[in-house]
């Protein structure tokens, strides 16, 4: 996250930069949205409106794409995003207990962001590292073989 979502001017600039990089074509839409989502943390209305103007694609269609994919978010997210793997291999090796521990620790349900804006708790589809399940990813750090009792000390690393 490098751009402040409340700064309309830099959002517009980011959109123009992304469109310039990938090209103003409908089939570049997902790469463009992916990049904006990474930079801003989510896809605010201002960003979607600007993409709509640049690509000449109706905003309604953009919203339908942005809300379809799991990795694109139309709502603000926390400073740190926890993605917990909810896939079967993690589930059968004790993922459920870790998930419960996460929810207890943060007092959040799936998809929620904490009131102080520090944490977003989400489940993710398989990260493909099933050999060390249960697996979770905080921002871009991967944690494997997670035990419920380790959850609080892992979270304590993030400020």
């Amino acid at each position: 996250m490098t751009i402040d979502a409340s700064d309309g001017k830099s959002i517009k600039e980011a959109v123009r930069a992304a469109v310039a990089r990938y090209g103003a074509s409908k089939d570049e839409l997902i790469p463009i949205l992916n990049e904006l989502n990474r930079e801003i943390g989510f896809l605010p209305k201002e960003a979607l409106d600007e993409v709509s103007a640049q690509l000449r694609v109706p905003a309604s269609q953009l919203f339908s794409v942005a809300s379809f994919y799991r990795m694109l978010s139309t709502k603000p997210r926390g400073k740190h995003v926890i993605q917990f793997c909810e896939s079967a291999p993690c589930h059968v090796v004790g993922g459920r207990e870790v998930w419960r521990a996460l929810q207890n620790e943060l007092h959040l349900f799936d998809g929620e962001t904490s009131a102080d804006g520090k944490w977003t708790l989400e489940t993710t589809s398989c990260l493909g590292i099933c050999g060390v399940g249960p697996v979770m990813m905080i921002d871009s750090d991967i944690y494997g073989n997670v035990e419920p009792t380790q959850v609080s000390s892992i979270l304590a690393k993030y400020h």
Partner: protein, 593 residues
């Protein structure tokens, strides 16, 4: 070019990264510098050397010595022994991997590596490594000696079937696409490996990306296409990076672009990344996503071979299918057809996960039995518990019971047993797994991943999930079973794409193989595997409890009471059944009733 006497390949597969592979690499560099060996020993990153279950690991060439289970503190000793004194550091040796001569030996005798042969053996970020392993030779052969029809004929004879799951003969797809008159035509690689527990394609892309590119080029030549796309899921950032590097290097060498190898054949390739939608692994949804739309499937026909990407004829195969192609051209259709069973030829990669001693990636000839895979290659069930079920084919597959252990793995046999081959995820479950909970779990996954376009899948899976949730909560009724059966049949018959049509499979297999367990939940309000929260109770056994207070101090809701050195008691009304007390108890005094 600098010459090194040794090359160290450090596995930076996410599994090894999670165990500190980068620390190992850093201290290896430092140690080599301080011993003055840095000009003699080259350190490279690679994906998957072994199965990564004992990472971090590294491989030293030319000796082919495989070190596993390393920690940062082991590195000075390792460098001194191996690189300074020239002795193999026996204590870090992976006993099960034999030394390498020409090819990387497979970890176990039952394995045959075709698709994975280069993974871990070459530097995936250096095209010369691939070329040294006969890379792009098949392409050269095809462009100079074969007509497109001969390529198709050759692959048809090999019996190669789509490795994405459905098992449609690859060359038949090519034939159909070649026969389409419209132009341009596209070649697409499906690298949207979304099945939970499946990570075979990730490893191939991270470890040997050029084999996929070469396979796609051969397919492109066969069908008459000049543009390809690889659609890779965003959850695999390392695979995307490796693939992009590979494409750039191939372009720089003139292996992608105009007039390839002077043959007049043009071909170029682009990588497209998903944004986290399981349904995009379905071919029509995948194409919609490349076009910049919601990844929703559409009815077929028209098939992609007739009207695919941007409305043009397109050929879609998955990573593993393409990676097989160069070897089929080089070693011959007969060689490939010599492996496997009557209708399922060649080898297949599988990702072993779940309650198994040696999880990881394997490649075996088709026709091998589930028993061989689980107990010989996988080493058996974790902690020597009993085997309960194996789930094949991902969330649209089924769970098979011990009586199916001797089923040979091939497309037809698995279908006969009530499951599917799928893309190759194998999830092993031990006796402590509740199958009703697993069915509920898979339905939750499907329900969430349903794109919502067609009603049977969108609403039907949600209804099934609600019923299963009710059963797990101890509120199941006798009508639930016939309702589940009816919904299964209707969703299967009426859904638009493979996701919906396969969605009821996990429930159908539980109804078929684990009916008594389901009935126990409904009629007796009991979970025989002691998993479903609402149907179990945590209790402290008075004779085992020492009154150490660990459980009471760790209980998140204060449900445990008792004085120091006296038996503690759990209040079932406050207890949220999180199981922490059972985990922290040093005396195994907490039991589930």
């Amino acid at each position: 070019m600098t010459y090194y006497r040794s090359h160290v390949l450090v596995c930076v597969d996410p599994e090894c990264l999670g165990k500190g592979a980068h620390d190992i690499e850093d201290s290896l560099q430092d140690e080599l510098v301080s011993q003055g060996l840095i000009d003699e020993v080259q350190v490279l990153e690679t994906s998957r050397i072994g199965s990564c279950f004992n990472g971090p690991e590294l491989m030293v060439y030319p000796e082919g010595v495989h070190y596993v289970g390393l920690t940062k503190d082991d590195i000075p000793y390792l460098v001194e022994e191996h690189f300074l004194k020239g002795r193999v550091a026996q204590k870090f040796i992976d006993k099960e991997v034999k030394a390498v001569d020409e090819e990387l030996s497979a970890p176990t005798a039952k394995e045959v590596r075709v698709v994975l042969r280069n993974c871990g053996a070459i530097d995936p970020e250096n095209i010369e490594d691939y070329i040294a392993q006969d890379g792009y030779q098949a392409l050269g052969k095809v462009l100079t000696e074969f007509t497109p029809e001969q390529v198709i004929d050759h692959v048809l004879k090999s019996g190669l079937r789509g490795r994405g799951g459905a098992g449609f003969p690859a060359a038949k797809k090519w034939q159909l696409c070649r026969a389409s008159l419209d132009t341009p035509k596209y070649v697409i690689c499906n690298a949207d490996e979304g099945d939970p527990g499946a990570f075979m394609n990730r490893r191939v892309l991270e470890g040997d990306p050029h084999s996929v590119i070469e396979g796609m080029m051969i397919a492109a030549y066969a069908i008459g296409s000049n543009q390809g796309y690889v659609y890779c899921r965003a959850e695999y950032p390392i695979a995307v990076r490796t693939l992009r590097i590979a494409i750039e290097q191939a372009r720089a060498m003139g292996l992608l672009g105009k007039n390839i190898l002077g043959s007049g054949f043009d071909f170029d390739l682009e990588v497209r990344i998903g944004a986290g939608a399981f349904v995009c692994g379905e071919e029509t949804a995948l194409m919609a996503s490349i076009e910049g739309n919601r990844g929703e499937p559409r009815p077929r026909p028209p098939f992609p071979a007739v009207r695919g990407l941007f409305g043009k004829p397109s050929n879609i195969n998955n990573v593993e299918t393409y990676a097989n192609v160069p070897q089929i051209i080089l070693r011959g259709a007969e060689w490939f057809a010599g492996m496997g069973t009557e209708k399922s030829k060649g080898t297949k990669t599988f990702a072993l996960a779940g309650d198994i001693k040696r999880p990881g990636l394997i490649e075996v000839p088709l026709g091998i039995t589930l028993r061989e895979v689980i107990f010989e290659i996988g080493g058996g069930i974790k902690d020597d518990k009993g085997f309960k079920a194996i789930q094949t084919g991902g969330p649209m597959g089924g769970c098979l019971t011990p009586e199916y252990l001797d089923t040979p793995i091939d497309y037809e046999e698995l279908a006969k047993a009530g499951s599917i081959m799928g893309s190759g995820g194998l999830v092993v479950m031990d006796e402590e797994t509740c199958m009703v909970d697993i069915a509920r779990y898979f339905m939750d996954f499907i329900q969430e991943e349903s794109c919502g376009k067609c009603t049977p899948c969108r609403v039907g899976t949600r209804r099934m999930l609600e019923i299963l949730e009710r059963i797990c909560a101890g509120k199941g009724t006798p009508e639930d079973i016939p309702t589940l059966e009816m919904l299964s049949t209707q969703i299967r018959q009426d859904s638009l794409c493979g996701l919906g049509q396969g969605a009821p499979n996990p429930v159908v297999s539980v109804l078929k193989h684990f009916r008594p367990e389901l009935e126990a939940h409904i009629y007796e309000k009991k979970c025989p595997a002691k998993v479903c929260k609402a149907l179990i109770r945590y209790e402290i056994q008075p004779d085992a409890c020492t009154g150490c207070t660990v459980c009471a101090r760790n209980c998140p809701v204060g449900a445990i009471s008792g004085e120091r050195r006296q038996t503690h008691v759990i209040d079932p009304d406050i207890c949220i059944r999180c199981g922490i007390c059972k985990q922290v108890c040093n005396f195994n005094a907490v039991v589930i009733e």
